[in-house]
């Protein structure tokens, strides 16, 4: 007799270790692929895995085998018109076609080894550059928490969820319904009995039989259970995502000529990180992109990251536009407002004082958090000096100079700390 073993409950991830080893081995290539992917992705689009391709020559495992050429003979099936001695021009595939020559996966090309990173793996690589503290990492990577909310009633559940009123109401209905036919019958029999009593004695067999019948029907009615499992009703609870509030996030970036591709890439990670933070806290998030040089405009994401303007820089134009948009569309009574500004710090020098004024009067009172990064290696300019004043006066303002990606996180440190306390 054979043994039949159910192995389904055993772990399915026997290969997880090997997969991790594989990923570790090709971490450089994958890292590069992830960086490329981030450049292509939208700020709001971080919650999925990614297709990664690695050059085949890196992943191949060499072994001794024959190359092309020489004198070789192969057997093939399906001869149609050939005869012995026929000469055929050599097909393009070259010699030795047929064996070991596994077909490529749907035109994907044989030079690339393709596979998919899961969402978690992708985020890990994303976080790695940012050098986030571990606690923050797990918080960001966690799927939204949910809370149980009541949603109607069901016919099965656990005893603690029994809804007494509903259940008894159901029981009563059932009892009435089940009694009805017996009651009708009793009513008929009683009418008959009354009729017969006019002509017969109490002790007559007919009367006795009728009385017996009525008694039995009454017993039947008594036997109908007061409550049945069928009557039970339970409160139904469903999962609903916990955060129920909404937020708006302003991305403000200097797009003047001095901001190059690298600076923009860094700024993008800055915005992404804030966005990720917000998705963990708020259910609904809107993103407003404001780009500016001497003039500020609200743009779509594409233009935000890829357009290049030349000319001077007037930061206050962007701040003014931000303040206006807050006024018009996002009353702080309904919206949690976050703002992130990236710039190379260069500003028309008379403008910085105006910036400080707009910030203190029209923006800072309304926003939850305002983060500013200066992407430059030059010495600080007047905008930095003015912002320093704001930092001193407002606890929800953070600023930092950034030279590499790992510098980004500290700007948000306070923000994340705040959340941990909650």
């Amino acid at each position: 007799m054979a043994q039949i073993v159910d192995r389904r409950l055993n772990g399915k991830n026997k290969s997880a270790v090997n997969r991790q080893k594989f990923i570790r081995r090709f971490r450089q290539q994958i890292k590069k692929a992830v960086a490329d992917a981030i450049a292509e992705r939208s700020v709001t689009d971080l919650d999925k895995g990614e297709k990664i391709s690695i050059p085949n020559k890196d992943t191949s495992e060499p072994f001794f085998h024959h190359g092309q050429g020489g004198h070789r003979e192969r057997i093939h099936p399906g001869n149609k018109e050939f005869h012995k001695g026929d000469k055929i021009p050599r097909p393009d595939g070259g010699a030795g076609q047929g064996q070991g020559n596994e077909a490529s996966d749907s035109g994907e090309g044989l030079d690339e080894f393709m596979f998919e990173l899961t969402r978690e793996e992708f985020l890990q690589f994303f976080f790695e550059d940012l050098e986030l503290p571990n606690l923050v990492k797990t918080k960001l990577a966690a799927i939204n928490e949910t809370s149980k909310v009541r949603a109607g009633h069901t016919s099965d559940g656990i005893p603690t969820n029994i809804n007494v009123i509903r259940s008894l109401r159901g029981a009563m209905g059932r009892r009435i319904a089940l009694r009805a036919p017996y009651k009708n019958r009793i009513r008929e029999l009683e009418a008959e009995l009354e009729d017969l009593l006019k002509r017969h004695n109490e002790s007559d067999a007919v009367i006795m039989a009728l009385r017996e019948q009525i008694a039995q029907l009454n017993k039947k009615i008594e036997r109908i259970p007061f409550i049945d499992t069928f009557d039970l009703r339970y409160d139904n609870k469903i999962d609903r995502p916990k955060p129920t509030t909404q937020a708006v996030m302003f991305c403000i970036m200097d797009v003047s000529g001095s901001m190059g591709r690298d600076e923009k890439d860094m700024a993008k990670r800055f915005f992404m990180l804030l966005y990720m933070f917000l998705t963990r806290t708020y259910e609904k998030i809107q993103v407003v992109f404001i780009s500016h040089h001497t003039l500020a405009t609200e743009v779509d994401e594409e233009t935000f990251f890829y357009s290049r303007e030349t000319g001077g820089t007037v930061v206050s134009s962007a701040l003014k536009l931000t303040a206006e948009i807050i006024q018009e569309r996002y009353p702080s009574s309904e919206w949690n407002i976050y703002a992130a500004q990236a710039s190379d710090g260069d500003n028309w020098h008379n403008d910085s004082k105006i910036c400080r004024k707009i910030m203190t009067e029209q923006i800072m009172p309304y926003v939850q958090y305002y983060a500013y990064i200066e992407i430059t290696e030059d010495r600080h300019q007047n905008l930095w000096q003015e912002y320093l004043h704001i930092k001193d006066n407002w606890a929800n303002f953070a600023m930092r100079r950034i030279e590499r990606i790992a510098d980004i996180y500290p700007v948000f440190r306070k923000l994340f700390q705040k959340q941990e306390k909650q």
Partner: protein
């Protein structure tokens, strides 16, 4: 006699049904004289099946990135629906483990039981290559030992060092096969104690070998002795394990593990056509018998036949699905054909197969299964009728000529030629480059020289350069690979300086 009613009508399987089907299949298999290891059927999920795939069907494997790569690859193809998971993974062990995938219908489960648990199982137990070269009783123990040992090494010497070392061993695993000595059968505990002894002993031996104190005796005698090894060796990994001067004991043990596992799979590589043909023949025969006895319904048979037909489909050479000869198709056709020759021989069969025409088919098939490997099986049993059915033809591709040439087709003149050529195509000896350890410069720079004996002027692929690098890291000194043509002259040299 009352008509037998089918065991089940629905396509859902249950444990009871699997047991019932198994009981009938076992009975029929026994009636046909199949001799097997005890059967262990394991129900697994699709994910677990992919795990099993990635570890080349080993139920327990040591960890290495290449298995991860394999897994990632399968997962991707499975998710895109490009690959149905094969319905059979079966382990050559005692008891013989066959996997049944949870998603399969009852019909498919029955098919797998017949195919893997009885077809392959009986092949593993009786084919001479398997009985000589693998030990089904101890393989699971050995794999467990290997897994633990390598995990220990990773802890002690660092994952990256072990990984790099395994890379090098894997590059040479096809050359870690011992063709002359039979591997011993031992349990895991024995393996462990022996391993410790071996460690100590080996290290002392290696040191001996290199302790050649230059005593000035006869220089002529010296020159004669200078050839080490005294005879060329084809088991490169074995040579490394025993002779590489700089390896540490744990590294020698890892070489040995890779070598042992390669040895375990070696018979499978030599009997693909036979093994699959045998298993396919028996699932076909057994399930048809079930049907004849009334245990299965028409619906069952239709589902089974559809799957069976897909398995044995052989696209023609000009089809876009063509990728060589399908071993299932060829093997099944040959097994069926042998039965036909036994039961209904034609005049042609009597002329070609006087010994078996008209004989008892079960005995004849059993004999064929036990005593052959693909190469000899084809050269013995491929009949003219099959050559015609498959419309086989042979193509000669000579790089010195502009055009390729048809050397034989399925006609009277071609049968013998095609049969030999096809058999040769399954000769692992000529499929894989013939490379042997030739010499070690014991007195000089300790460099290792390998020789590739060229057959029909077929060159080595350039990736040999990479393999040589791996070999050099195992050997610890320079490695040279010389390609020798039929005139005994060196035509090409790969070299790796350490």
């Amino acid at each position: 006699m009352s008509k037998q009613s089918p065991i089940s009508e629905s396509s859902e399987w249950t444990f009871e049904l699997i047991e019932q089907y198994h009981r009938e299949i076992e009975r029929i298999a026994k009636n046909f004289g199949l001799e097997t290891y005890p059967v262990q059927l394991e129900i697994i999920t699709a994910e677990q099946m992919m795990d099993a795939y990635a570890s080349v069907g080993m139920p327990i494997g040591y960890t290495h990135w290449s298995f991860g790569k394999e897994f990632v690859n399968n997962e991707k193809r499975y998710k895109r629906g490009m690959m149905g998971l094969a319905y059979e993974i079966v382990i050559n062990s005692n008891p013989c483990i066959a996997y049944l995938m949870e998603e399969n219908s009852m019909t498919m489960q029955a098919l797998v039981i017949a195919h893997a648990a009885y077809g392959h199982n009986s092949f593993f137990k009786n084919n001479y290559l398997f009985t000589t070269w693998t030990s089904a009783d101890s393989i699971i123990d050995y794999l467990l030992f290997a897994k633990n040992y390598i995990a220990q090494c990773e802890e002690r010497y660092g994952e990256s060092r072990v990984e790099a070392f395994l890379d090098s061993c894997h590059a040479l695993k096809n050359y870690g096969v011992d063709r002359y000595k039979r591997p011993p059968t031992i349990s895991m505990q024995e393996e462990q104690t022996r391993q410790n002894e071996r460690e100590a002993y080996l290290q002392s031996q290696i040191n001996e070998l290199w302790k050649t104190i230059p005593t000035k005796i006869d220089t002529e005698l010296d020159q004669k002795k200078c050839c080490f090894p005294t005879e060329p060796q084809e088991n490169i990994l074995y040579f490394i394990e025993k002779n590489a001067p700089l390896l540490e004991p744990w590294q020698r043990e890892i070489v040995r593990i890779v070598r042992k596992i390669a040895q375990y799979f070696y018979p499978q590589r030599q009997t693909q056509v036979m093994n699959e043909g045998w298993a396919t023949f028996w699932h076909y025969t057994i399930l048809n018998q079930l049907y004849d006895e009334g245990f299965v319904s028409d619906g069952f048979m239709v589902e089974f036949l559809q799957s069976h037909t897909n398995v044995i489909y052989q696209p023609a050479f000009d089809s876009k699905y063509y990728s060589g000869i399908n071993p299932y198709a060829l093997g099944f056709a040959m097994m069926t054909d042998i039965r036909r020759i036994c039961e209904n021989p034609t005049a042609e069969d009597r002329q070609w197969f006087p010994d078996i025409a008209g004989s008892d088919w079960q005995q004849t098939l059993d004999f064929a299964m036990r005593n052959f490997k693909d190469e000899s099986f084809i050269s013995q049993y491929l009949s003219p009728k099959l050559i015609r059915d498959f419309k086989l033809f042979s193509i000669l591709d000579d790089d010195r000529k502009k055009e390729i040439e048809v050397t034989a087709i399925h006609d009277e003149l071609g049968y013998q030629y095609l049969r030999q050529a096809l058999a040769e195509q399954y000769n692992l000896g000529s499929l894989e480059p013939n490379i042997q350890v030739y010499n070690v410069d014991v007195k000089g720079d300790r460099s290792l020289t390998l020789r590739h004996y060229q057959h029909q002027r077929v060159p080595l692929d350039q990736t040999a350069n990479e393999v040589i690098k791996h070999l050099a890291s195992l050997w610890g000194f320079n490695v040279r690979l010389e390609t020798i043509d039929s005139d005994e002259s060196v035509v090409h040299t790969f070299e790796c300086e350490k």
